[in-house]
């Protein structure tokens, strides 16, 4: 440990410097080993044959179609789940009704059900072997092995993220500000947009980013429902797997790197917003 000068603030913890150093060291090694190293490996593998090969891999029609599919799915699923998440959190925290505990459990269901099982449920429900599925296919509206199935699977798997982020924040904030706005004559919508939404915006942003990351990254449920048809229903994660299984490792890792970059981008966006609005953030968090 470095020497401790007098101008330093007195540490509030009482652990010996050695133990503290050890703990910090273990944490850093853990982060390096389990977070940083895999991320670096993805990029190294992608660039193994140089930039040109990597960019060429991205120009493969299958890769382009997968990127397009994943972005489209996320662009639809995230707003829908943000809206449902807000509605669910609002209902749970601002009103009293009998089946509340049940609704909370229901929201968590996608977390406890394996994504593969979720995918299978959709196949059983809407597949060619079910009455409903047969009718849908006969009427030219297939859900399984088609876009709607992928969307449904993604919606199911990513449903809890926004609501889960919002519920504790909204419980902590209580109803007082909404009630104050009511007594000042504001309508329900006005209260929502001028009081509720500004108070939950950071939690909402965080929930949306998590939801987005998962929507783009979901593999299990989508793999089952989509049938992984190249150029048609393959998403980025399922396409990565297919490239990899065909020993097209540059293509697989390049696509994986793009996926990782999209994730990093969302994190960067969040940090940027937090940094730009640091003063407001402090104002809304402190009382």
């Amino acid at each position: 440990m470095p020497d401790i000068t007098l101008s330093r603030p007195v540490p509030v913890t009482t652990e010996a410097p050695l133990i503290r150093g050890l703990l910090i060291g273990v944490a850093l090694i853990f982060v390096a080993l389990f977070l940083f190293a895999p991320l670096v490996t993805v990029f190294v593998e992608a660039l193994r044959q140089g930039w040109v090969a990597a960019l060429d891999a991205l120009r493969l029609p299958d890769a382009l179609a997968a990127i397009r599919m994943t972005l489209t799915i996320a662009a639809i699923a995230v707003p829908i789940n943000a809206a449902f998440g807000i509605a669910a959190a609002w209902a749970i925290t601002k009103f009293d009704f009998p089946s509340k505990a049940f609704l909370i459990t229901l929201i968590d269901l996608p977390f406890s059900v394996s994504p593969v099982v979720a995918g299978l449920m959709l196949v059983l429900l809407f597949g060619a072997n079910s009455t409903l599925g047969g009718w849908l296919i006969a009427n030219d509206m297939p859900i399984v092995f088609a876009f709607p199935g992928i969307l449904l699977a993604t919606l199911f798997v990513t449903f809890p993220f926004v609501a889960r982020e919002l519920i504790p924040v909204m419980i902590e904030q209580g109803r007082a500000e909404e009630e104050a706005a009511l007594t000042l004559g504001a309508s329900g919508w006005r209260i929502f947009f001028t009081v509720t939404l500004p108070n939950i915006r950071w939690a909402l942003l965080y929930g949306v980013l998590l939801c987005n990351a998962r929507a783009m990254g979901e593999f299990g449920a989508v793999a089952v429902v989509s049938g992984k048809i190249r150029g048609e229903t393959a998403t980025m994660p399922t396409m990565v797997e297919m490239f990899y299984n065909e020993y097209l490792s540059v293509a697989a890792f390049t696509l994986a790197a793009v996926l990782a970059m999209l994730a990093l981008l969302t994190l960067l966006l969040k940090s940027l917003l937090e940094w730009r609005h640091a003063d407001l953030l402090a104002a809304t968090r402190r009382h």
């Binding site: 007082a176 500000e177 009630e179 104050a180 706005a181 009511l182 007594t183 000042l184 004559g185 504001a186 309508s187 006005r190 001028t194 009081v195 500004p198 108070n199 407001l280 402090a282 104002a283 809304t284 402190r286 009382h287």
Partner: protein
């Protein structure tokens, strides 16, 4: 505007927060709801403001049945125990909120809103704090901003839930005086909740002593002191 409370009762599931209570409040009075914790003071106040609906009974405002009116329709200025200021808005925006929330036809123009907010800031003797956020104010200043915000809607009555509850003794005394002055100047029928008998006796024209969801006694402070109606009132006001 006078308020008439007729046989008002409120149950939360199996808890009886209010047994049927009746109370006439004369126009322009400054009334204290006084009682120990859990006696139903907040419940009664919230029913008056329309934030809670009674299980049975009626409320009349100026002779008109107001029991079914929504919160917005009641136009009651409400000051919450924890003030419930909008944390993400400046003091100016907080006070202007009620004016901006009006339907377009009745909404004053921007310049008029500015004038009114400034007049209210002057009234609470904090003319220069419009640009601050609530977290940059002291407890006493927050309380006064909450009062100004409630007054901005030109309310028909003023309802305050333990307005001085979270403040130290010195600030309490000052703000008590401030509330008295604002009440006298606006002439608004005002109901405030307190569990501090000294505060009720000193400030109110009319004191309503409550216990366990019942009204024990209603009267002028001096009368309650001189002739307590029940043992409970005697003990509570002697404390």
């Amino acid at each position: 505007m006078n308020i008439e409370i007729e046989e008002l009762a409120k149950e939360f599931g199996t808890t009886r927060a209010l047994h049927p209570v009746s109370l006439p409040i004369p126009s322009g009075a400054l009334v204290a709801l006084l009682g120990p914790s859990g006696s139903g003071k907040t419940t009664l106040l919230r029913i008056l403001g329309g934030l809670e609906f009674p299980t049975s009974g009626r409320v009349l405002f100026g002779g008109q049945d107001a029991t079914g009116l929504s919160v917005q329709e009641r136009r009651a200025g409400f000051v919450f125990q924890s003030y419930a200021l909008f944390k993400h808005m400046t003091v100016f925006e907080n006070i202007a909120y009620g004016l901006r929330a009006r339907p377009r036809k009745e909404r004053p123009p921007e310049a008029e809103i500015g004038r009114r907010v400034q007049r209210l800031l002057d009234l609470i003797q904090l003319p220069d704090i419009g640009a601050r956020y609530p977290n940059q104010l002291s407890g006493g200043q927050r309380q006064r901003v909450a009062l100004a915000r409630a007054l901005a809607i030109e309310p028909r009555m003023l309802l305050l839930d333990e307005p001085f509850g979270a403040l130290d003794a010195k600030v309490r005394k000052e703000l008590r005086q401030g509330l008295r002055e604002i009440h006298d100047r606006t002439g608004l029928t005002t109901v405030f909740v307190t569990h501090d008998q000294e505060e009720a006796m000193e400030l109110a024209d009319l004191v309503v002593v409550m216990s366990m969801g019942r009204i024990e006694q209603v009267g002028k402070p001096a009368d309650i002191r001189a002739r307590p109606a029940t043992d409970f009132v005697r003990d509570f006001t002697a404390a």
